[in-house]
Amino acid sequence: MRGLSLLLFITVASDAATDLYVTGASLQPELGVSAAPAVTSPVGSRYVPEEYGHPGIALARSAEEPAAPSTEDGESSHHHGGGGYKIVQWEWSYVQTPYIIASWLLVASVAKILFHFSQRFTTAVPESCMLILLGLVLGAVVLIASKKQPYQLDPGLFFLFLLPTIVGDAGYFMPARLFFDNLGAILMYAVVGTLWNAFCTGFCLYGVKMAGAIDEKVNAGLMDFLLFGALISAVDPVAVIAVFEEVHVNETLFIIVFGESLVNDAVTVVLYKVYISFVEVGPGNVHTADYFKGIASFLIVSIGGTLVGLFFAVILAFVTRFTKKVRIIEPLFVFLLVYLAYLTAELFSLSAILSMTFCGIGCNKYVEANISQKSRTTVKYTMKTLASIAETIIFIFLGISAVDKSKWAWDTGLVVSTLIFILVFRAIGVVGQTWFLNWFRLVPLDKIDQVVMSYGGLRGAVAFALVVLLDKEQVKAKDYFVATTIIVVFFTVMFQGLTIKPLVKWLKVPRSTNRKPTINEEIHERAFDHILTAVEDIAGLNGYHHWRDKWEQFDKNYLSKLLLRKSVYHKSELWEAYQKINIRDAISVIDQGGNVLTSARLSLPSMASRTSFPEVTNVTNYLRENGSGVCLDLQVIDTVPGAKIEEELETHHVLAGNLYKPRRRYQSHYSRHFMTVGEKERQDREVFQRNMRNRLESFKSTRYKRHKKDRNPVVVPVAPEEDKHDPSEPDKDDDVGITFVARKAPETPKERPKSVPAALDVCQSPVAAPPSPTCGEKNLPWKSGVGSLPPCVSVEATKIIPIDLQQAWNQSISSLESLASPPAPPEPQHPRVSALSRLGGPLRTPAKGKSSGGVNAGSGSNTSSPSSGQFKFPTGKEEEEESTLSQQQQEMQPLMSSLRPPPPPPPPPAAQSATKRRNPCVYLRSLVTVPPSGAEPQSRKPTQL
């Protein structure tokens, strides 16, 4: 907090200083920070156009805030004036605007960090509340320091920059299916509900005024109150997102409230515009035709906004068809066109929020399919970052704006009755509409849902920005309205936002589960859709499923053809879903390797000649780009629930810290260690043992599988081959990624991360240490200088890379393994590690038992090969754990090794054939189904499991 206050102090100090030197024409602090909309400086006007973006604003003149042009450069100007060269110059006026913007962003971000320091605190108090409070405090400090309030939430900035970032994010990531499933309810609440709220609030306020409960000073007629009712009645998307995101109510409830808050924008805009024009001409001059014009205007604004959005969605999707060569600007297209959809709607004073929302919803499917995985990530993160910071700024500035003496035209009657009315009418409206909707809904909204929906009708910054935009000349009671709006916003965001969580808990509202669907669910739900469509057809009902099916046909036959890349179009959606799941798994596995992996470059000499994908040097990248059927061990990953990932990550950090950094260091001495067995001999041995044991494990599991699955055609050939292996190709080639297979492991997801370090223990434990490791080593081809073949092919490599890259991989890995290896993990780790191994052990016993047959077979065949002398280990539970270790750990090893690829020994023809032979035995699910270059057709054979 100290840093924050320091920053604040600096800001305030500069403001205070500037107040001393108020000069007439000078730069405004920007970023909504700027006070007066009546900006004169060129810099300011760039950000604050005359006609504020919002459609409703076109009619409203800019608020004439009396805020003094707060200026600075008093300090800087005299520096400029001086003659002669100055070594250090104070160029405040030059950097002022961006500087202040950056400072506010920094304040907002730091504030976010601080709030999230205390877990207990943030779970109880929504961030939006804290931000508003912070804004209040900041505002108070600024006010005290500078006697004025130069900062407020500037409507122009809000509507043109802050709101679009939030709405864009909301629209683009809107769950389309859910949205359209509930479209009826959403439209109902958004249109009917908002109208109801607006009229009732307006009329009742007027009634209260007539009754005398509102002070005489509030100089407002019926039209003014209706106008106020219109702007105060709309549920605010920003507030709803901010509050509901933390509450995690179930999806249906969320989408209804959230959808309503977005869609009701059209209603708000029209009502606001209509009333303002009525207020302008005076209530007496309103003709009946004007009401119809209002209705027509509503239709135009809403439908027009939607169409503009969809138009841009089509353009965006179409453009992204052709960005294959310029992947780097894909995200930019997304941002630009979505934003243009918003601006264009503003341009024609249509509903910009609707436009942007539908642009996002409409383009999402096609754009996500067209752009690369990296672009997807970029889009996602950038949007989220922008939305998050925009939200933060909005709330902070709401708080700051409240601290302004000029705004405090307080009327208790108005404030209290407004609060009561919006709550009461919201509740009545929700109950009434829900009653009506439940006649038609498949899943009726029960009472609890209605309570949450009523209570979740939060008002926010949109209302505030609209009320600030009112023209004081025409709406005499503007100050009162502003004050009331602030109170209403604060009450809903802070009080309701604070209490909605306990309420939801207390009512036992079904929570949402943040869970990605499994492939089973994807398939079956798709089947359900087909079933329901068919049943509707049979039963002769042209229901929802019927029409959705029609739409899907249309989409498939026309839209997708137009908007999707050819390569993408030919993939079915289910396949996409499958790939997404796989890639998600793969990435989650790979990303746990963190920086190590992403920096890994596959620049093997053998690959230099590969022209098929010249630009692809990064394996991960390559896979993400091509989405080739990367199939990592699904079960292992799938059974790791989200919460576990952190735990796993931690484990990975331990691993990475202990294993990889040192290894990298050795790599720099690569050539030295390549030939000679240095002082690291012991570690080499350990790594070798580990690898061998892993391979043994995988071999066992393969064996086991092979026995189990008699349909596997490759079973027979492999076993004899292994016996025939000569020392130069000692390794079981069938280990292609089998390590992943350990089928039992997934059943104990909890133990998995923990068991990883356990394997380290194994390496050092006396049990694991082979009695005569050296004799095995002596026979190793690469140690004895024969070194013609990559002996230790790290298993996982083959998993991650396409089959046709395997050769290269194997080479690099083998050279790695013959090389320096990670030093032993630090001693202190031991106690914990062994404890963990004990923990993990028993749970894994099933696997051990099952694979015992494989053990015999494996060791039997291995003993015949000199290079595998180390396989005669006690096969304890440690080995079982090790196989688990390998799943994660080995994955990284190959990639690491490829950082500095060694010149691989020229693979003799025998090696080639060995590689070839191995390919059919791709048992693992982890395998590349579609090698891009199409080499080695058998390798395409998908997993036999």
Partner: protein, 193 residues
């Protein structure tokens, strides 16, 4: 109301049917109309050919299987069977008090799942084998996906759901894999509520 009653009266055992399926008279009448429309020859029962005449159904990738589900143990479908099968897709009504000893309603979660399950399990051995899954996938995915891709999807699916490692999905496993899915929502049609 007179016409309503007369239509209902034409249906034998209509009370039993309504009690078993939970459909209201309006539902029954509507379905009866549909039944008669499908039964062009007025035989009082439907044949697979009658279903084949529904042209939307012909475009449904798993339409054949659904027709098959109607005719699975029988050759023809009379009105009672027709309604009973459709009753699988009636939304679950929470309001209706559940009598403790009443049989499980047709539209219960487990019955809905069973209906879906039998679409996969064509050989009726109580398990979705890899081949059966592949067939469904092939039907649903169309020609756009290569056989290898299909197989890897199928493998993964089975592997994911298969708890007893028999390389097939039993009903229990099927139910488990969909545990988190709100079947009541996803397998229900709003029948004239």
């Amino acid at each position: 109301m007179g016409s309503t009653n007369s239509t209902l009266l034409k249906i034998p055992n209509v009370e039993v049917l309504m009690r078993e399926t939970g459909f209201s008279p309006a539902h029954i009448i509507r379905l009866h109309d549909r039944f008669k429309a499908l039964d062009k020859e007025g035989r009082g029962y439907l044949c697979p050919q009658d279903f084949g005449a529904i042209k939307e159904l012909a475009m449904n990738p798993i339409g054949d299987r659904i027709i098959g589900a109607f005719f699975s143990p029988r050759e023809t479908v009379d009105f009672h069977t027709f309604v009973k099968i459709l009753a699988h897709f009636r939304p679950v009504d929470k309001d209706r008090p559940k009598e403790p000893n009443s049989p499980e309603p047709i539209n219960s979660r487990s019955n809905k799942l069973k209906f879906a399950f039998q679409l996969y399990d064509q050989d009726k051995d109580g398990k979705i084998s890899r081949d059966e899954l592949l067939k469904v996938l092939r039907a649903m995915l169309g020609m756009q996906v290569t056989e290898e891709q299909l197989e890897s999807i199928a493998d993964r699916t089975i592997q994911e759901a298969d708890l007893d490692r028999d390389d097939a999905i039993s009903f229990e496993e099927f139910r488990k894999s969909l545990e988190k899915v709100n079947i009541d929502h996803k397998m229900s049609i709003r029948f004239l509520r």
